[in-house]
């Protein structure tokens, strides 16, 4: 329906613009996006700090936030968490819809804009809450001298009563603009009196709407609209508007915005916001910590000490293979589960008014995720090495841990980049799983030995797979100088031919399956590290582009 009235609520004198930290205008979008575990106060504080220059002292920001909380009547929920919206509201309970909408308004209001635009601030709220929102807006306009302009769809009569000025639009044309009181009068004169027990706006919107269901109706409505447009042109309201425009034209224009636009905020603010949001959710933190070690524990159910005989080679290899394949998958799954809300916040609102780049977002998110990833990898490595009886020693421990965490990071960044590109959790999951599986297939050297693979894999493709470098590092670390016996364990004497010993030592295993891997340790570390860096850059670039596209 194209008859959305835009309603103006504007006080007479405009306050002098360009205060020390005054944003010229704020825009509140129709849907609310907040990090769900933060409290109202935190959301507002971070919003203020993300758009303020570093030079603004903390206590001033706190005072501004408290003022905003008071203004919006959020005092009793100031320290409650915001909670999820839609389906997530069930799992993460928090504020009501009206309170969430207030928080969205607050996010703009902490910038103390002189003009506040709101797109359908009452949509999706029950009538009662809608009324309180508009009442708050009215108070802002009257007591704080702000110019407030919002669109509204089907406002009730109690909302109508709160407005100062009304603009009724149909088909892109102004059918009426003027004081609320003049509206009923105007339409009554034009021959469309509103019933006493009827909401005037409902009736007028019907009157000016163009019903496209049939040609005849359309023609009727069009002609009615033309008539009303002409009536408006001839009205006092139109004349009053023209007078005001004439006056405004001679007054000085709104001063360009203040120093806020120039300075960039401290990027620690973003980091702190993401970290706090995560820290507030024990389940999300736990997911990041336990999932990887959990796989280790599942493996422990099957296998304890692998031993040193020939059969142990299969078990050892299987263990390392699992470590190789699980580490990046867990990173990816965490990213796909937890990154979307940051993406949403960035693309739908923050890219518009908060001052941080895609690069900063990816970096901050990544830096928050890293310590937990390190913890998970440490636990996982410990579980993989000690109960299974792999070779010990600090260097070996560090090698296994290092490859695991680097792969984990590759997985996490892959998850972030697929989410950025696809914006759909299932699709991102499938795509990144497929990519990781391909890398495992090409690079691990366990499924298909590089020795027998065709040269375009053995000499070419495999170098593209991060798993190739990680696999070499892990297998060299475990098999180098490993003592293997040729005596079979009890009960397995007849499995092998007597005297034949395929892998008399770990080194023999490496010579046979990973020839030359020992010599490339430095290269492997460097390339794997470079992989993470490249992924980081790629993800940031993709994000910057996605953010720019979405802003349009």
């Amino acid at each position: 329906m194209c008859a959305n009235p835009a309603l103006f609520s504007r006080p007479g004198p405009r306050r002098p613009a360009g205060g020390v930290d005054t944003a010229p205008a704020g825009y509140v979008l129709q849907d609310d996006h907040h990090l769900k575990y933060l409290t109202v106060r935190e959301v507002l504080t971070y919003a203020a700090r993300l758009r303020a220059a570093t030079s603004i002292p903390r206590d001033r920001i706190e005072a501004r936030v408290q003022e905003t909380i008071n203004l919006l009547g959020l005092r009793n929920v100031a320290d409650s968490r915001v909670g999820g919206s839609g389906i997530e509201a069930i799992s993460v309970r928090g504020l009501s819809g009206g309170e969430r909408r207030r928080v969205s308004i607050g996010v703009q209001l902490v910038g103390d804009p002189a003009v506040l635009f709101l797109d359908e601030p009452t949509t999706g709220l029950d009538s009662f809450t809608a009324n309180t929102i508009v009442a708050t807006l009215r108070a802002l306009a009257q007591r704080h001298q702000k110019t407030i302009i919002f669109t509204v769809h089907q406002p009730r009569s109690d909302i109508f009563a709160l407005l100062d000025k009304v603009l009724l639009m149909s088909q892109g044309r102004a059918v009426f603009f003027g004081h609320r009181a003049g509206l009923i009068d105007h339409f009554t004169r034009a021959g469309f009196p509103c019933g006493l027990y009827e909401n005037p706006l409902d009736f007028y919107i019907d009157t000016i709407a163009v019903d496209k269901r049939s040609l005849k109706r359309m023609a009727d409505a069009e002609s009615r609209l033309l008539y009303l447009l002409a009536a408006y042109d001839a009205s006092d309201s139109k004349a009053a508007l023209e007078r005001e425009i004439a006056v405004a034209g001679s007054s000085p224009a709104l001063a360009p915005s203040s120093d806020l636009d120039v300075a960039y905020p401290d990027s620690n603010v973003l980091l702190a916001r993401i970290a706090r949001n995560l820290a507030r959710s024990p389940m999300d933190v736990l997911d990041r910590i336990y999932m990887l070690p959990f796989v280790g524990i599942l493996m422990l159910l099957f296998m304890q000490n692998v031993g040193n005989d020939q059969i142990s080679v299969q078990n050892r290899t299987g263990l390392l293979f699992e470590a190789l394949s699980v580490s990046p998958v867990m990173g990816m799954m965490n990213a796909i589960a937890q990154f979307p809300e940051h993406r949403k916040l960035f693309t739908r609102s923050d890219s518009r008014d908060a001052r941080y780049s895609g690069f900063e977002l990816v970096s901050a998110y990544f830096l928050v995720a890293l310590p937990l990833g390190i913890l998970a990898s440490l636990l996982f490595t410990a579980i993989t090495i000690y109960p299974f009886g792999l070779q010990t020693g600090w260097v070996r421990f560090f090698t296994l841990f290092g490859t695991s965490i680097l792969l984990y990071m590759v997985g996490e960044l892959l998850g972030v980049v697929t989410i950025a590109l696809l914006d759909d959790q299932t699709a991102a999951n499938n795509t990144s799983s497929l990519l990781l599986s391909s890398s495992l297939l090409l690079g691990s050297g366990i499924l298909r030995s590089p020795l027998t693979a065709p040269s375009w894999i053995g000499k070419g493709l495999k170098y593209a797979a991060p798993h190739f470098y990680a696999s070499q590092l892990m297998f060299v670390s475990e098999y180098q100088d490993l003592d293997l016996t040729c005596t079979p364990r009890p009960g397995f004497e007849d499995v092998l031919q007597p005297g034949f010993c395929r892998f008399p030592s770990g080194n023999a295993y490496l010579t046979m399956l990973f020839p030359g891997a020992e010599d490339h340790e430095l290269r492997n570390w460097l390339v794997l590290g470079a992989y993470v860096l490249l992924m980081w850059l790629l993800t940031s670039t993709v994000f910057t582009i996605v953010g720019k596209l979405k802003r349009r």
Binding site: M1, G73, S127, F128, T132, H153, Q154, R156, S157, D158, T188, R189, G191, F192, P193, G195, Y197, P200, D202, F203, D206, T207, D211, D220, A221, S223, R224, A231, D233, A234, M283, V295, F302, G307, I311, S312, N315, G318, L319, F321, T426, N430, S433, L434, L441, L442, L447, R448, S449, L451, T452, A453, P454, R489, L496, Q497, P498, G499, M512, L513
Partner: protein, 822 residues
């Protein structure tokens, strides 16, 4: 009184000088026009001097028709009343429907409904119980508190209330769709009576005569409007009816609901399919219920999410259905004034208690008497709804608003014997509104007759119009002998006489229509399921692309397997990855898809559209060719690229085993998804199961060395059985190249693997007693991996058994575990 002007003076909010107001139903007939004219001419009088400005622009012909009757209109001006009429006419266009074949009245007496919410098994809820003991348990809530109402055939009744007032609960209890929530210790208790034609409401009775339009439209997005309607017609209408007749009826319903122009447009609404508008979708939902010719129609928030026009159209559709003899009960949240007036009766609920029940016309009067006149220029419904809402924003507000609500509830209880909408006092104003209501009914039936002719061409002609005229007569008669249907004047107390006797209800009223036979249901469901697959083109393409990508990725990596000693390990690697890669993806995507399909399935089952078994079989059989196709798309490229043996039996055994494996994983996914009807939990369980099946498959660990306490897992793991079957199929009758025996080496160095040979053993090699070839053939490779005793056929049978087990589990879960989408 009400909106009707004759009583305007009685309302303190209206200035005494105000001329009479328009009657409730605008544009219903000539009488209302004349009232309007008087009123609006009077209203426009004081401002008439300025009308010269207004009338100067070109006045459109339609609005410029001079109304001779309105003598008060200033000459030369466009008469205001006519203009207003044009707007009102435009909105008041009530559709006319085939009369209902049965009529059922609903009596609700002293209904109480208390629910004990269950304890969710999540950290938060359990934490609350652990820390706070019994106080941490969710407390029981009284959702309905002594609710009574009566809705008669021909009436449209709305239940109004703010969120949490219990309006949907009331509807669900009457429609026998209430369910206590999930979680542990959940329960509910229901007391009071719900009577249908005086007989207790049983699930079977209400299902036989009632249709329920849920708040969300859960229609298959890919099908067209006509396909949806004709499917319901075919599967649900009497099996004695001929197919063409059913289709004609479906088309007639589409015509009645104004859906002809979108008959071949998909429903849409999903991310990928663009389709009909929200209002049209809502009307299709109503249409699917209408096909079953329900005597009672329930609609939960039929206007939510719709714009004003569409909302009004939907409600006028409901009203038309009521006028055709049905009992229509809907919940609605904050209707506009014009929509509000379309209802016959309204119940206002607050916190499960009745604040008002009765005729819409009397709302303003009633509340004015209770001390709350409606302010002018506001919608009474909004105003009274706010009045009966408890404001939780601050304690003070909560206290005051609670006091208001309590006063209203007490006032209502004091003034009604039992809630029939019958106010104790009878004053002349009352009589007035009754007269209006009567008038309206007569007009409605006249309109009925006149529009019947127009619609005859669309609706299945002959019997339709006959039925309609019969109905009109019945209605007029009822109105004639003072039976004020919209007033619900049930003065004689039902407590005195048995309702069954008074109302003459009989089982005959509740005989359910026997729909299509099970076989026919299967046929229809099968065809529809196949159609779904083809119509969901983007999903099909995505699946195609992913499967092919996987097949090619594996095939490329294992391109041209050799036959040397190292290739032995490659082959095991191939068998392992083939039996885990695609199945893992299948498990993830199947759980997601099952979850996406759940709402439609749930709704259709709730509507009793079909039985479970034919649905279940149809779905499986319709999907089977696709499952086979995708499996082959995955396995054939791998087989060819890897250069495996092109022997017919080996080739087919490979494809079949892979198919069985993929199908088993699909079955596990649907089994889990139906047993655990929440998406997050279901994915976790499915993932965990898969990992537990994958680890003991024999590739990662040598199963003979695995801890005995867990080794049995490998005996029930479908991954193990696949890995083994593929390996055996691959290695049997295979021979591998052997390195040269460690004899006669030039420099005295032994080849790799033979360094530890003793001189005696070397001699044995030289004499040929021992062979230098560790894995000369497939048999020895299998021995190495502890698989020499594996039989491909047995493993295949096991995979089938896994499939059957989980599919049966799924069937039982669909039958016995609520699939209500959450």
């Amino acid at each position: 009184m009400g909106y009707d002007g004759s009583s305007a003076q009685a309302s303190p909010a209206v200035p005494a000088a105000t001329p009479p107001l328009h009657p409730p139903m605008l544009g219903d007939g000539d009488t209302s026009i004349s009232l309007n004219e008087q009123m609006y001419t009077a209203l426009s009088m004081p401002v008439s001097p300025s009308q010269a400005d207004v009338s100067s622009p070109a006045v459109p012909p339609d609005t410029a028709i001079p109304a001779a009757r309105s003598g008060a209109a200033p000459a030369g001006d466009a008469p205001p009343a006519r203009k207003r009429e044009a707007v009102v006419d435009m909105v008041e266009e009530e559709p006319v429907f085939q009369p209902s074949s049965r009529s059922v009245r609903i009596d609700v007496r002293n209904l109480n409904y208390i629910v004990q919410p269950g304890l969710d098994l999540d950290a938060q809820a359990i934490g609350a119980v652990l820390t706070r003991g019994r106080r941490g348990m969710p407390t029981p809530r009284k959702l309905l508190d002594d609710v009574s109402m009566t809705v008669l055939p021909g009436e449209l009744c709305a239940v109004i209330g703010s969120s949490g007032s219990g309006k949907t609960t009331l509807l669900d209890v009457i429609a026998a769709r209430h369910q206590s929530g999930g979680g542990m210790f959940a329960g509910s208790s229901l007391s009071g009576d719900v009577l249908l034609n005086g007989l207790p409401r049983t699930t079977a009775r209400i299902r036989a005569v009632g249709g329920y339009v849920a708040q969300e439209d859960r229609l298959p997005a890919e099908l067209t409007v006509r396909e949806v309607l004709s499917f319901v017609a075919r599967i649900r209408m009497s099996r004695d009816m001929r197919d063409e007749e059913k289709l004609r009826r479906a088309d007639a319903v589409a015509a009645e609901l104004g859906l002809i122009h979108v008959a071949h447009t998909p429903i849409g609404g999903s991310a990928t399919v663009r389709g009909v508008s929200g209002g049209e979708r809502r009307r299709v939902s109503i249409g699917t219920q209408l096909l079953l010719d329900p005597a009672v129609l329930f609609a939960d928030e039929p206007t939510s999410g719709l714009d004003a026009y569409t909302a009004r159209h939907v409600v006028s559709t409901l009203r038309g259905l009521a006028r055709a003899g049905r009992t229509v009960l809907c919940t609605i949240h904050a209707p506009r004034a014009d929509v509000f007036r379309m209802f016959d009766k309204v119940m206002i609920l607050s916190q499960g208690q009745v604040v008002y029940f009765g005729a819409v016309e009397r709302v303003v009067d009633y509340f004015s008497k209770a001390g709350h006149p409606c302010p002018i220029y506001s919608n009474p419904c909004d105003y009274y709804l706010d009045l009966s809402t408890v404001d939780f924003r601050s304690e003070r507000r909560e206290r005051t608003s609670r006091a208001v609500v309590k006063k209203l509830v007490d006032y209502y209880r004091a003034n009604t014997k039992f809630a029939t909408g019958h106010l104790p006092e009878e004053d002349p104003l009352h009589q007035q509104s009754r007269a209006d209501a009567k008038l309206r009914l007569i007009q409605a039936s006249e309109q009925d007759a006149s529009v019947a002719a127009d619609n005859a061409a669309l609706a299945s002609a002959s019997d339709g119009s006959k039925g309609r005229s019969l109905f009109s007569r019945r209605k007029s008669a009822a109105a004639g002998d003072g039976g004020d249907i919209p007033m619900a004047d049930l003065s004689p107390s039902l407590e005195d006489t048995s309702p069954a006797k008074v109302l003459g209800g009989s089982e005959e009223d509740f005989r359910a229509v026997t729909g299509a036979s099970v076989l026919e249901q299967f046929r229809l469901l099968y065809l529809r399921s196949v159609m779904f697959r083809f119509k969901a083109r983007s999903a099909l393409l995505t699946e195609f692309g992913q499967t092919l990508a996987m097949g090619l990725a594996v095939g490329v990596v294992f391109y041209a397997l050799g036959s040397d000693q190292v290739s032995v390990q490659d082959r095991f690697g191939l068998c392992y990855i083939v039996s885990t890669l695609f199945p893992f993806m299948v498990i993830l995507s199947t759980v997601a898809k099952f979850h996406a399909d759940r709402p439609t399935f749930y709704t259709e089952r709730q509507d009793g559209l079909y039985r479970l078994f034919p649905f279940y079989m149809a779905r499986i059989l319709a999907d089977l060719p696709f499952d086979i196709g995708f499996s082959l798309l995955y396995s054939i490229p791998i087989y060819l690229l890897a250069g495996l043996d092109l022997e017919v039996d080996k080739f087919f055994a490979f494809q079949i085993v892979i198919f069985l494996c993929i199908y088993a994983s699909r079955s596990i996914a649907v089994g889990v998804a139906s047993m655990v009807p929440r998406f997050q939990q279901a994915s976790f369980v499915a993932n965990f199961l898969f990992t537990m099946f994958l680890l003991p498959c024999g590739f990662i660990f040598n199963m003979d060395t695995v801890w005995i306490g867990i080794r049995w897992l490998s005996n029930i793991s479908f991954v193990t059985f696949t890995f083994q079957a593929l390996s055996v199929n691959e290695f049997r009758d295979q021979s591998f190249d052997c390195p040269a025996p460690p004899v006669g080496s030039m420099d005295g160095q032994l080849p790799p693997g033979f360094e530890s040979l003793t001189p005696e053993q070397l001699a044995q090699y030289a004499s040929g007693e021992l062979t230098s070839c560790p894995i000369p053939d497939g048999e020895s490779a299998l021995e190495l991996y502890a698989m020499s005793s594996v039989n491909v056929l047995h493993n295949g049978i096991f995979l089938v058994a896994v499939t059957v087990f989980f599919r049966t589990l799924c069937f039982l879960a669909l039958k016995y575990i609520s699939q209500r989408p959450r």
